[in-house]
């Protein structure tokens, strides 16, 4: 089926070329970083994780959200999602691939990455994260590919694939839970030390991921003959809306606990992120934009007129996705390091190369996504013609 990715319109090849250009630029920057060390980034002794790990955390959410189409279709036989299930699975594949690339980009000694397997350490959450992410990647490639092959041959998917599908459902929850545990189990980092971190991660993932999927469906409808269908998209909108509202609720719970208990450690990071701490508030504009975008998006999802029109729906999805990307892809990880254990405030500004590497990994992710979607939609278009 791979050959389907090798034929396409000029627009397809143009898009591929753009992605390859970004990937090349990212690779060049990575060579620089590899030779110099991670000092080429904006990270420091106090803010020791930056955009790489933040993107990783965010994208684990996007990957996990694939389950929001897989679960209704395979577990509840919700036929409307039949057409887009493969899109959800392949989105997960691209996202997990990006996660792994971001982790590699963040390692000080990337050539030693396999030490994690050579010296397995069950007490380290990172060890488990490595396992769940790789298995999730495998499950989604495998299930997606087998089901698509069956579709191409006009036969029902083989029965033995079912267990893999059923496993992939709790597995999606596990990847984001384990990723939350990376943070939520660290003593002395008050912002992360909260039992609600995993549910919050899942809520924001199930809002952001499907919002991206809606956008992708709308784009696909324009550039190909494939239409996910109004009903499927509106059902996704329902999922996005509920998840986004639950996410807002969880965030408000954090605010309540911090400010009503009045425990300084619990308030510090929230202060820093939303209001500024001791006159420093590098991320305040970002977090406020995130809040405003999030609210506008939710209102647009709730009002029938705006959620039913494709153009306004697209705007709402973009706003929500961007809002959640700031919240998790910037605020959560970087904010957690402020103040430092010695209660110092250190600002973090990603360097040029760091941004280029980040863009390069995103481009690589979209490259994988484009190729996989090209194959999947190629198969589906074939069926439509015949």
């Amino acid at each position: 089926m791979l050959e389907k990715a090798l034929t396409g319109s000029n627009r397809y090849w143009g898009w591929i070329a753009v992605l390859l250009a970004f990937m090349a630029a990212g690779a060049l920057s990575y060579v620089q970083q590899y030779n110099y060390g991670l000092g080429l980034t904006g990270m420091s002794r106090d803010v020791s994780w930056g955009v790489y790990i933040a993107q990783f955390t965010f994208l684990v959410g996007v990957a996990a959200s694939g389950v929001m189409v897989v679960l209704p279709y395979y577990l509840h036989n919700y036929k409307t999602f039949a057409k887009i299930t493969i899109l959800g699975e392949f989105l997960a594949v691209a996202s997990v691939s990006m996660c792994l690339m971001f982790i590699l980009a963040d390692l000080g000694q990337p050539l030693r990455a396999l030490n994690v397997l050579l010296h397995p350490t069950p007490n380290s959450i990172l060890f488990w994260d490595m396992i769940v992410l790789n298995v999730y990647l495998f499950l989604n490639i495998f299930v997606g590919w087998v089901v698509l092959t069956a579709e191409k041959k006009d036969v029902a998917p083989p029965k033995w694939i079912k267990p893999f599908i059923y496993i992939s459902i709790p597995w999606a929850v596990s990847i984001h839970t384990v990723t939350a545990f990376l943070y939520a189990g660290l003593p002395g980092r008050h912002f992360w030390l909260t039992a609600i971190l995993a549910p919050r991660f899942l809520a924001s993932a199930f809002a952001g991921g499907p919002a991206l999927l809606i956008l992708l469906c709308l784009i696909i409808k324009r550039v190909t003959k494939f239409d996910a269908g109004q009903e499927a998209i509106q059902k996704l909108v329902t999922i996005v809306t509920y998840a986004a509202l639950i996410n807002v609720f969880f965030v408000l719970l954090e605010f309540f606990t911090a400010y009503y208990s009045n425990i300084p450690g619990h308030m510090h990071t929230l202060d820093y992120l939303f209001f500024g701490l001791h006159g420093q508030g590098q991320l305040v504009p970002w977090m406020r934009v995130s809040t405003i975008f999030g609210i506008i998006a939710i209102v647009m999802f709730l009002v029938p007129a705006t959620r039913k029109r494709e153009d306004t729906l697209a705007i709402a999805c973009v706003l929500l996705f961007f809002s959640l990307w700031i919240d998790k892809g910037i605020g959560l990880v970087i904010g957690g390091f402020v103040p430092s254990p010695l209660e110092e405030i250190t600002a973090y500004h990603p360097s040029f190369q760091e941004i280029m590497i980040t863009l390069g990994v995103w481009a690589a992710g979209f490259f994988i996504l484009t190729v996989l979607y090209k194959i999947a939609l190629g198969v589906k278009e074939e069926k439509m013609v015949s």
């Binding site: 963040d106 990172l126 003593p187």
Partner: protein, 272 residues
């Protein structure tokens, strides 16, 4: 033909999985490397974690802040001694900074303590801080390769050969005592004073105070303790040995630890 191929693939697949997984599993079972630290510590009850382990060696340090307050410049002497002996580089850019032991004001060392009209001594005190060599170290729990691990004598050590530079330990340390080699440290080591007997580090690994294991092995005191001379500013030794000097110091003085509420049970104590 087809069946044969299928069988072959099945066998090949299974043996690949076994081949990949078995050595790792065996390593885990046979060596039992992680057991001294992680499993033992995670099982301890809250009461037990407040008390020192009753048996075996547990190395620790008592820092007498009164002496440091009386002799200004002593802390700097300790820092220089440590950083010279361990070839710790000096960077101009604070972003690249590496430090094993350094001085901080009271509020930074003891963040959770609240004061109203703080007493004058605390106002301009400067506290030496270093790795606490916790009995229940969160960094060791976090490390995915056992590159940082707890020795039987209580020292939390680093194996720079194994560190992959993920910096999970830096996020896990609630004391901010770990540094990362953001770039090649060599050009930033003073060539005139470096220690030929001790290695440098490479870029991309995390480092921190090692309680001078290499000096202890030779029967020497840690470099910072030695730098204090007879002032009694720092006392180092086995806290489980009832006849040790440190044990006496702990028995005679009221001491505090940094962030005791986190349950890490630091092995560095302060007399204020």
């Amino acid at each position: 033909m087809d069946i044969k191929r299928r069988q072959f693939l099945k066998i090949a697949g299974l043996s690949t999985i076994a081949g990949l997984g078995a050595p790792a599993a065996f390593n885990l079972l046979l060596k039992g490397e992680s057991s001294p630290v992680s499993f033992a510590s995670s099982g301890s009850s809250p009461e037990a974690s407040q008390e020192a382990a009753p048996t075996g060696v547990r190395l620790g340090m008592v820092i007498d802040q009164n002496v440091f307050d009386a002799y200004r410049g002593l802390a700097q002497k300790c820092i220089t001694a440590c950083h010279t002996v361990h070839n710790v580089p000096k960077f101009d850019n604070p972003k690249d900074e590496i430090k094993w032991i350094f001085e901080v004001p009271y509020e930074k060392a003891f963040t959770a303590k609240s004061h109203y009209h703080k007493n004058e001594q605390l106002h301009d005190s400067s506290f030496p801080v270093l790795c606490n060599h916790c009995d229940n170290p969160p960094c060791v729990r976090a490390c995915p390769t056992k590159a940082t691990f707890k020795r039987k004598d209580g020292i939390v050590a680093m194996d720079y050969h194994r560190c992959i530079g993920c910096r999970f330990c830096m996020a896990a340390c609630p004391y901010g005592m770990r540094s990362f080699n953001w770039r090649d440290p060599r050009p930033f080591i003073d060539k005139t004073t470096y220690n030929k007997e001790f290695p440098t580090r490479m870029r991309g690994v995390v480092e921190k105070c090692n309680f001078c294991v290499e000096r202890l092995a030779k029967g020497l005191q840690p470099a910072c303790v030695e730098a204090c001379g007879n002032s009694g500013a720092m006392v180092f030794g086995d806290m489980n040995d009832p006849h040790s000097e440190i044990r006496k110091k702990l028995a005679e003085n009221f001491t505090i630890q940094r962030k005791p509420s986190l349950g890490t049970t630091p092995s560095v104590f302060y007399i204020i």
